[in-house]
Every structure is written in structure tokens, then in C-alpha cells.
Amino acid sequence: MKSIKEMTQGELAAFVQSRLREKGVDVVLSGGAAVSLYSNNRYVSLDLDLVNPYFVKRRAIRETMQEIGFREQGRHFVHPDTQFFVEFPPGPLAVGAEPVKQVNELTFSTGALRIISPTDCVKDRLACYYHWDDFQCLEQAVLVARANRIDLHEIEWWSQAEGKLDEFRRIRDQLTGREK
């Protein structure tokens, strides 16, 4: 097994998840780190958001994180051998008002990584763009959409449910790479 110092972002996330899973704690990677993985690191996030969908008590998470050398620092867990830090946002696992139905599993040498799908990753970033006009989030959504097979109809339907159909229509061509 690689040391934490040598682990890539995906390997570290898989390692942490595997150790938590052994203790019955199931978490799912979301947020900026999912964008990093799905964009082949064209966007870099040092923050590993492992969503805690079933509201497991923080004490249980803290114990496991301490066993593998992480130290709690406010909301985050940091490790002396890696620049990546881990956060456990509270559940439910959702994009906007809709629950995440499909979770993908990627295999790394350090374990299995449960991660939101590329389509949900795009929705997650678009939620941030739709509600806060954050253009960095739009850029991240575009990176993921162009590097992966995504369900554009599903994203359109979801945008409509979020009351953002007009915004979706404005950025649709950016997602598909068919800009004029």
C-alpha cells in the first residue's frame, strides 16, 4: 500500500472511504474533488468533500480519521504528509432539491471510491452557478461536461425543476462544446 504522502487525490479519497467503510460509515465524494477527477485535473481542488448522507455522528468519523493520522482542524481534517484536506458535509446527498440516485464506483489501488456521477457533478456545479452567479462553477461544469459522457436531457429537466430553464438554455452550447 502506498503511503499517504504518495497518494493522488483519488487514491487518498478511496483510502479514506475504505477505512471509514470498515467502520460502517458510508460517504460519497462530491464537490470540487469530483470535478478534479472528472476533468483529469484540469481543475484542481485540495478539498475532498466526502458527503455524509446518513448523518453518522462526527465522533465516529473523527476516531477513524485520527487512526490514519488526520487531525481535526475546525470543519476539516488535515494530515502532515498531504496537501489535501478532508471535509464531511452533512447529507442528504442531493443536487438542488433532488436526491442523488446513482453513485459511481471507481477502483484505485488504495480501495474503491464512491463518487457522484459526471451528470450529477455537472448539476452540482450548475447549482452553484445558478444560485450564486459563480462563473468558476460554470467553468467547472463545462470542464466535466466536455470530458465525460453526460445526460444533457436529465440536466435540462433538473434545471427546469430548479426554476432555471432559461439559464440552462443560455449555457447549453457551452456544455456541449457547440458554442457559436
Binding site: R75, P89, P90, P92, A94, G96, A97, E98, P99, A127, C128, H131, W132
Partner: protein
């Protein structure tokens, strides 16, 4: 009103205030309800870490608002709207009818 559901008076005060005024900060909420700003601040932080609220800073003040990405936002707003409709008229007006338009510096009332 919602205390049995939310578990504390301050939790209700915080959510009802922010629903009625769109955003708010601890000292302001405490002033309106006559509570302790530190307890209100703790409740705001608790809702933020639970994903119900988000915050931003304006000068030295941390302003909180409902998280537009909270999955139960629509349902929460319905509940708060209903709760607010049960508040005494005077209290409801005090919460909802606050000045939101800008006031130029130095302008007399």
C-alpha cells in the same frame, strides 16, 4: 410555534427571522426578539454547518441567509410561511415590514 419540531426557541427565531427578512445577523435577530446574541450566533453556526443556512461577510458583519441549495428548502419555506402566519399581527409586521431600500448617508428621517 415550531419549537417542538426544531427543539429550541432560538432555532425558530433564527429561521423565521431569516425567512421574513431574507437575511440577518446574530445581533439584529437577538435585538428583535430580545434574546442573547451569543446563543443566536451559536444557532446560526449550527444551521450553517448543517447546510440549512449560508453566510457572507459585509464589512465586519456575518450575514446569514437560507441556503438555496438546501434540498428541503421549498418545504422549509412553506413551513416557515405557515408558522409566520400564526404570529401575532404586530410581531409579524415588525418582522416583515423592515426598511430594505437604501438610505443615503446623512439624510434626515
Amino acid at each position: 410555534m415550531l419549537e417542538p419540531l426544531l427543539g429550541s426557541t432560538n432555532a425558530e427565531r433564527v429561521l423565521v427571522f431569516i425567512f421574513a427578512r431574507t437575511e440577518g445577523y446574530a445581533r439584529e435577530i437577538a435585538r428583535v426578539f430580545g434574546g442573547d446574541p451569543d446563543s443566536i450566533q451559536k444557532q446560526l453556526a449550527k444551521f450553517e454547518s448543517g447546510g440549512v443556512l449560508v453566510s457572507r461577510t459585509a464589512g465586519r458583519t456575518r450575514l446569514y441567509s437560507l441556503n438555496p441549495r438546501y434540498p428541503f428548502l421549498k418545504e422549509l419555506k412553506s413551513l416557515l410561511e405557515k408558522a409566520l402566519s400564526f404570529y401575532p399581527e404586530e410581531e409579524r409586521e415588525h418582522l416583515v415590514m423592515s426598511r430594505r431600500r437604501p438610505r443615503r448617508r446623512g439624510k434626515p428621517l
